[in-house]
């Protein structure tokens, strides 16, 4: 019998040794989806037959001695904003419900080439922006730690489906997807590091900056989150890292910059459809987009100017640092009814600063509330320094026991 919880690294190692069959693994995951996803709604489309066919193919290849690597024969889910050849890709929206791409996105192609098996398409906030919404063709994903709660987003189904932050798996997936994409003019053309190799290195000696004001004054986190971060800082100090406090521009500046850019660009993409089919979008998405119509061209350019300044500010602030720590969210996941339509404007996002700068950032579990809900902090690196982020996160994960805890009730 295949265990319910296996990391990619664990399953990949078993498959490589031929101790685990990709077909049995895929069947077990499909059965688990069948058993649980009626409550979680993490998938909006399950590709059972296609996944089993791919698993049989992977198994035949591996048995013939053609093992491709740690993702070969591993079932994965893809957020429904990734274009998948001949499989509908909707952005979780009625607006694109009939959209069937003719080609895979580069990231999907690379994962498939690495041998991953696509189990299906995962729920997302509408166009990775609008949720949580109950007026879309599919319901929002529910938090497996407590199904009355929001999953966060936009990777709502992804979060619900995985429900455990595992650094080694992240490194394996990133390794398969990273690299220059000639079809994407914004893609960096630089060598791809060996991310898994970086996990083996010690965290000792890392210099870490703690941006405390983001979660103590700018967007006040609850006591459990603050304690979780304080404990995480202590763990890093015990691992031989130095931690000092860092002050940067107020969180609201970063949030304003990021939201104005994001809204403007999303509005430009959806402008024609918003005019023609406004009510076909979910209410949360369309009303946020309506606000984007109030942003001027000058606002957008000022945001781009500020973005450049904030990138420079963080780069300077991190001159003698390797990493930054701050909160990932001000609290545990809220209940659905606590998330308002305009929630993204009401409190500045703690993750937005690193969207603005394009820094590699990772959310890592730093404990649980008394009710057993996970809390998280962010580890942020310098541009293109994913290896250091992964190294630190991996060391932290191994120094703590959080990764062993999994969702329990109300799931069977």
């Amino acid at each position: 019998m295949v265990p319910d919880f296996l990391t990619i690294a664990e399953a990949g190692a078993l498959i490589a040794k031929r101790d685990l069959s990709p077909v049995e693994l895929t069947q077990s995951r499909l059965a688990r989806i069948e058993r649980l996803d009626g409550q979680l709604h993490s998938f909006i489309r399950v590709l059972g037959d296609q996944a089993l066919a791919a698993a049989r193919e992977a198994e035949a290849e591996i048995m013939a001695g053609r093992w491709r690597g740690p993702l070969h024969g591993i079932p994965i889910g893809l957020k429904d904003i990734y274009e998948t050849k001949r499989v509908p890709t909707t952005g979780h929206s009625k607006v694109m419900i009939d959209h069937v791409p003719q080609a895979d996105a580069t990231s999907v192609r690379r994962l498939t080439e690495a041998g991953a098996i696509m189990l299906g398409k995962l729920a997302t906030h509408e166009f990775a922006f609008g949720g949580p919404s109950f007026d879309l063709p599919w319901p929002p994903a529910r938090n497996p730690w407590d199904t009355t709660r929001f999953t966060g987003g936009s990777s709502s189904g992804t979060g619900a489906a995985v429900a455990a932050g595992l650094v080694q798996d992240c490194a394996i997936l990133l390794q398969a997807m990273a690299g220059h994409d000639p079809a994407d003019p914004a893609s960096a053309d630089r060598p791809v590091p060996d991310y898994r190799a970086s996990l083996a290195r010690e965290a000792k000696g890392l210099r870490i900056g703690l941006i405390r004001h983001f979660y103590e004054t700018d967007n006040q986190a609850n006591e459990a989150t603050r304690q979780g971060i304080a404990s995480a800082v202590k763990v890093f100090e015990d691992l031989g890292c130095s931690v000092r406090e860092l002050r940067v521009s107020p969180l609201a500046d970063w949030a304003a910059c990021g939201i104005v850019i994001m809204l403007s660009e999303a509005y430009a993409i959806h402008e024609v459809t918003l005019r023609e089919r406004f009510v076909d979008y979910g209410e949360a998405f369309r009303d946020r987009m309506a606000l984007a119509a109030l942003i001027t061209g000058a606002d957008y350019v000022q945001a781009m100017r500020l973005r450049r300044e904030l990138m420079t500010e963080l780069a300077k602030a991190m001159t003698d640092l390797d990493l930054v720590i701050t909160a990932a969210a001000p609290s545990e996941a809220p209940t659905f009814d606590a998330v308002s339509k305009f929630a993204i404007f009401e409190r500045p996002s703690l993750t937005m600063p690193f969207n603005v700068t394009g820094s590699p950032a990772m959310s890592v579990c730093c404990g649980y509330t008394e009710a057993g809900l996970p809390l998280a902090f962010q580890l942020v690196g310098k541009p293109f320094d994913e290896p250091t982020v992964l190294k630190a996160a991996h060391a932290y994960e191994h120094a703590t026991s959080w990764r062993a805890i999994r969702p329990r009730a109300p799931l069977p």
């Binding site: 104005v260 309506a290 942003i295 100017r305 500020l306 420079t312 300077k316 305009f342 404007f345």
Partner: protein, 139 residues
């Protein structure tokens, strides 16, 4: 049908907002918002005399959305109008005292401008890599 008037609300998170940075014009005695914009003049103003829309009324928001060609359901209009202040407050935060040369996206900053550390670091690395890949003859 006109949107019900909605008074903008401030949140503690985006304060100080445009209410501080962009008050009604005190010398003229009326608000330029009547015409869709206001002049700022306070010392706290990071941008120094920036003309910026502020305090849009519900009717102004409705007009802007109609001009954009959006057919908003009546029920949602008041909520959108009440949330317009979020955009105004964010737009105010973007304004800073900047030189005219501070364009939004420069790979090569104009002379005298502080270099963008991130871009410059990348350029240095790329140049080093390209030079390192050249053969003696190419050099």
């Amino acid at each position: 049908m006109a949107i019900a008037s909605a008074e903008p609300k401030l949140t503690p998170y985006f304060a100080p907002s445009m209410r501080t940075l962009y008050p009604r014009h005190p010398f003229i005695g009326f608000s330029f918002a009547t015409f869709g914009f206001t002049v700022s003049e306070t010392l706290e103003d990071k941008g120094e005399h920036i003309v910026k829309t502020q305090g849009m009324t519900a009717a102004e928001v409705e007009a802007a959305l109609a001009r954009a060609g959006l057919k908003i359901p009546e029920r949602e209009k008041p909520e959108i109008a009440a949330a317009a202040h979020f955009i105004e407050e964010m737009a105010a935060r973007l304004r800073r005292k900047r030189t005219m040369a501070a364009e939004p996206a420069h790979i090569f900053p104009p002379p005298g401008e502080p270099p963008n550390a991130v871009i410059q670091a990348d350029l240095r690395e790329t140049t080093k890599r390209v030079l390192g890949s050249l053969t003696a003859r190419e050099e």
